[in-house]
Every structure is written in C-alpha cells, then in structure tokens.
Symmetry: C2
Subunit: 405 residues, 2 copies
Amino acid sequence: MASPEKVGLSGRAKQMPASPIRKLIPFAEEAKKKGIKIFHLNIGQPDIPTPKEFMQAVRKYDKSVLAYGNSQGDASLLEELVRYYKRYNIDLQTRDIVVTTGGSEAIIFAMICVADVDDEIIVFEPFYTNYNGFAKMADVRLIPVTTYAETGFHLPGKEEIEEKITPRTKAILVSSPGNPTGVVYTGEELEMLASICKERNLFLLSDEVYREFVYDGEHVSAFELDDMEDRVIVLDSISKRFSACGARIGCIASKNQMVMSTALRMGQARLCSPSIEQQAATEALRLPPGYFEKIKEEYRKRRDLVFEELMQIPGVVCIKPQGAFYIMAKLPVEDVEDFARWMLTDFNLENKTTMVAPGPGFYATIGKGKDEARIAYVLNLDDLREAMRVLKAGIQVYNQPEAAN
Amino acid sequence: MASPEKVGLSGRAKQMPASPIRKLIPFAEEAKKKGIKIFHLNIGQPDIPTPKEFMQAVRKYDKSVLAYGNSQGDASLLEELVRYYKRYNIDLQTRDIVVTTGGSEAIIFAMICVADVDDEIIVFEPFYTNYNGFAKMADVRLIPVTTYAETGFHLPGKEEIEEKITPRTKAILVSSPGNPTGVVYTGEELEMLASICKERNLFLLSDEVYREFVYDGEHVSAFELDDMEDRVIVLDSISKRFSACGARIGCIASKNQMVMSTALRMGQARLCSPSIEQQAATEALRLPPGYFEKIKEEYRKRRDLVFEELMQIPGVVCIKPQGAFYIMAKLPVEDVEDFARWMLTDFNLENKTTMVAPGPGFYATIGKGKDEARIAYVLNLDDLREAMRVLKAGIQVYNQPEAAN
C-alpha cells in the first residue's frame, strides 16, 4: 500500500474564524502571572448576579432521571415566554416559539432556515463577531453594510443598503440594541428595513437579546412592524437578560409557521435544550418587570461614566450609545490590536491594566475598525472608573513611543 | 408597491426531516386520553436513575453568576474525560477533546469539519435517524450501505463499501454499539474500515456513546486502530452512559489537531456548553467502573428477555444483538408504520398497548425497513415482559383482519 495521503479538512473548516476576542487571552494570562490586575472590558460577561429565583430552581430540580425534554422546549417555559412577550405587546402563541440552546443556536437555526450555501445575508458592521462563525458553519455569506462611530452606528440610507442586494440575498440580520455598538434603532430605521424586505422579498432576522437594556428612548421589536409577520424571525436569549450566560437557553420566534416547522425539525434532530436550565429560566421569566428597572439603572450609570471618561481622552470619537452594555469608540491609536496587546505585555499603571476588544474582529470588511475598540461596561462603577483611568494613561504612554517600554 | 411575494425558505429547510420517531406521538396521546397504558419501547430514553452524585453536583452549584464557561469545556471536566478514556487504554490529552452540547453537537461539528456542501459521508443503514437531520443542516449527503437483520446488521464485505466511494466521499460514519441495531463491530470489521479510510484517504467518524453497553465480547474503540490517529474522530456523550439525556453534555475527540482546532473555533462561536451540567458530569465521570457493571447486568437481562420473547413470535427475524439497548427486528407485518399506528389507534390488550419505532425512519434507502421495528429495552423487566406479551397479541390480531376492530 502506498503511503496514505494526509487527510484534508473541509473548505469551511479551514475558514472557520477564531474568536478575535479570545486571541489576546494568552497575553492576559502572562500579565496575570506577573501579578498585574486586569480590568476586563473585553467580554460581554455581566457581573450582575444571576437571580436567586433561577439558582433556587436549579437546586430544586428533583426528578430522578434527567430525561430528554420536549424538542420545542418545556411546555411551562414556552407558556412563560408567551407571557413575557405579551408584556412588550408582542402577541405570540407557543407554536411561534422554539426554545434553543442559547441565542447562538437560534442564530444558526435562522441562517439555515432562510439561506442555502453561498446565499447572502446582509449585516451592518460592526456586528456581533460570532455571526461570522455561524455563517461559516452554515456556509452562507455575510454581506456587510458599514456604519460609523461618527453617526452613532445608526443605519445608512435605504439606497446604500439596497446596493448590496443581489439575487442571492435572502435576509437582513440586525441587532438592536446592538453588540458591539450599543446602538438602538429607531422605529423609522426598522420600518425602512421592513420596506426593503417587502420590496425585495427578504427575511428580517432580528437579534433582540438586549431588549431590556435601553437607556434612552424605547426599544422597538421587529415584531411590531406592519405586514411583516411572514418575514420576521426574532433571535433571543436569557443570557444577558438574567445574567445567565452559562445556562444556554434562548429561543427562535416567528409567526411564519414554515419557519417554525423547520426550527422544530432542527430541534428534533438535536433532541432538546438543557432540561434543568429550562426549569430555572421559567422561574426567572416570572420575575416582575421591576427586576429589570434596577439593573437598567445600574447599567445606565455605568454607560454615563464610561462615556464621560472616554470624552476626557483627547482624540476619542464616539456618540453616547442608547443600549446594551457596550461602547464602540475610535481611539487615538493607529492599530488598536497592537495597542490592546501592548496594554497587556508592556503597560501597567500601579500594577493594573485594562483589556479591550479590538475593533477589526467586529467588521467583515478588511481594514475597517483598526482604530476602534469595544468596551463592555460589565464591572462595578468603582472598577470602571479605575479601568478608564488606566486606559487613559495607557493611551497617553502608547502615543509617546520614547516613553513606552 | 406591488403585493409582495411570499418569502421562501432555503432548500435545505424544506428538506429538513421530521423525526420519524415522533410522528406517532399524536396517536399515542389519543390512546392515553382513552385510558390506555402505553409501553414505550419507541424511544431511547433510559429509565435508569441519573447517578445521585450528578444530581448532588447540580444542587451544589454555588456561583453567584452563571457565567460563560470555557469554549473548549471546563478544565476539570476535560481532565476527567482524559482519565475516563485512560480506563479504556485510550491515551488522550485535554487538547484532543472539545466538550459539546450533547453528542448531537459533536456529530454536526464533525460533519462540518470533514465535509463541504454536497460532499458525501458513508453510513451503514439502518442508522441513528438524527444523522439525517444533521446532514441536512450541514448540507452534506449521507450515502447508505445496507446491512441486514439476517446477519445481525454486521458490515458487508469491503468491496460493497468501496463501491459507494466517489471523489466527493470524505468520511465513513459508524456507530458501535449501534443504534438502532445493537450491533457491536468486531476488531476485524473496524480494521477493514480503517484500511478503506487509509487507502481512499477518508476520515472515520466513530459514534461511541454506548461504549459501556456491550453484553457479549469487548468494545473496540476507533482510537485503538493502528495508523489512524489523523483520521479518527470520536463522537461521545454522557446521555446514555449516565442516564443524563437532558444534561446535553458530550464531546468530540481526535488526535488530529487540525480537527480539534476547527472544533474549538466552532465551540468559540457558540460560546460554551451548559456550565452547571459540566460540573455535574465531572462528578459522574469520577464514579468507579463498578457503576456500569450493575447497569450492564440489568440491560443484559432485559436484552435476553426481549430477544427470547421475540423468538416466541412466529415470523420474527433477528439475531441477538450484543450491545446498546435496542433490538431491530423484522416483524411478520407488511407495513410496520401502519402496524405501529394501529397498535395505538385500534388495539389494546386489557387496556394496554405497546409503541415501537418503525424501521423506515432508520434507513436512507426508500422502501427499506418496511417490516422492521426498533425496540428499546428501557423499561424494567416486569414491564418489558408485559409489553412483549401485548406486542405478540397485537401482531396476532393485526394479521387476522377479520378480528381486528
């Protein structure tokens, strides 16, 4: 037998993107070994405690066999989700919802539902970086429309979006409140997208996992758009809402029964989402709306603090974002990836440094975001204040090369 | 504006298979409403209690924030998996493993890893029906090689398999012990597959979730095959092993670091598997090997009982399976889908009936399995005995049309 060939991976496997947010982790670990305290503004992991009602439900799980659950989701969770959406005047029935393993699964289910291989989905960059990974797994193409720090990352005009539509375009994917930008689209912006979807026969995939985190104005759900029942697919998750990122509970929701039937069949293939967390999520959804008010106030203070501190740094460009818990800002550095790494390898202020997420990871267009960083305000106010002081000092030193190192 | 077109789903969405096992559920629910007790031999949901060590670990989860875990899996779970495999003389390092959300995710990760759209993966039918759903999501083609009840569903000769290989073939996917057949492949059979993989430059995807459930002979892991380090990808799960199907904890394992790097990047996209269950799975994996001995003895008795009872039914064809907890048998009926439905809608013995999984759902070739059913022996011995008595009576009545209904 001839010496066997080396076995080759698929094309999409080779192109699967590494998480750009996680690329800096080895440098962070080195810094920690040197005894440097790092303020992690780089990941969207909230520090807010998971509701005790959730944790109590976990501890109360008392079945002797941890069996497969219903593929669509536990009946009580589905009913509670219906009630949850009703608070926002969104009228869904249980048949309009499939519980998913995190918002992640909802996104990949939706992509597969609307697009075949090499079909196109329009996204607004900067966007949630993991959309890239899901698109590669599903082998669909994300077509970016760029938005800008100078305009608070709001949508461009209709023509600019329509220019990107080809016969292969199947959907527009939006996130409002947005990660990484914190932008909250207005009703007019969403209506503009709806009119494009209707005129060009597209789906609207709406990632609304930060629904409650709106500090100015009101959140508009894609479900509120007129004549869009067949086109809207909402992607949702309890991860941020209840600070339960490790639970892996989300949902996909649509009034389009063909979409829901497909989502259910994909759900049947993978059997079910985690049973214990479904029971716990049901309890969390029963919390009164006041639960969010307190958390929103906390995040609002953090946003105001981070924004004000950023405004104190000469050369920073950003408009105060209205939602989520991120600020995407232009920093006065040429290459933010180099700067972010340098903050870990070469800089500290009183043995402290700050870690940010470099902008390019949130863009599909090569070269975009080189001077931008995402700052997640997921630390308490004191730590945030200190983190921003360290960041400001770091920028100053970085821009005086003779002083650096 | 013209009246908008109806928005269309993707081709793969339209082709997404419904779970054939779940098709009969509405009829079962009707029967239950009529007060009929149903013996569920149709699903692979074990009745064995989940280990109390697992449940205790769930209750002991005491972090205040249920945060994202490591995308590769919790460090302690990865280390425990390394120790678990060592018991079977499988030498892995933590870098060779990515924890997945159930075996389901491991399967889809592996398919995407080795195959692009329209690439082919060879499977031996009858096979685990959800392979179809994953293949459709990944948009790869499953190419079936048929195996037969008469030969205990063991593999055909090498030529018969090689005939199915085309330039688009990327892998062979096997499950041993097998679902739905209970077949356990011999070392020689696996070596034959290995030689094909080496000669034709293919991956070997090996679903080993029933590793412990072998009643005659020994389980051979694909990891034990010579010169196959770069080609073997093992798909695994704690669902059956620890009767923890609702936990959604599995793993993908390979010595091929390109495969593992891809799996990790897919893992990063979906962030992490459920955190609480990872902690609990770690505890379950620490159970002494004796844990499995007791359970294996219980299943062995059940297999023997079901097999003996089947042999009492005239016209049944099957060879005693060596593993898992399924028997795939030819029943003396023309159309097993009709028979299985009839058992729910038209038959009962002393207000009891038996539900089986019809064969065709486990075949890719249309028309195959029409007279076969999968029987899952996941009930206690008394219930199984009664279920088989009811099944036997049902077959008798079904085959005497004048008596039925």
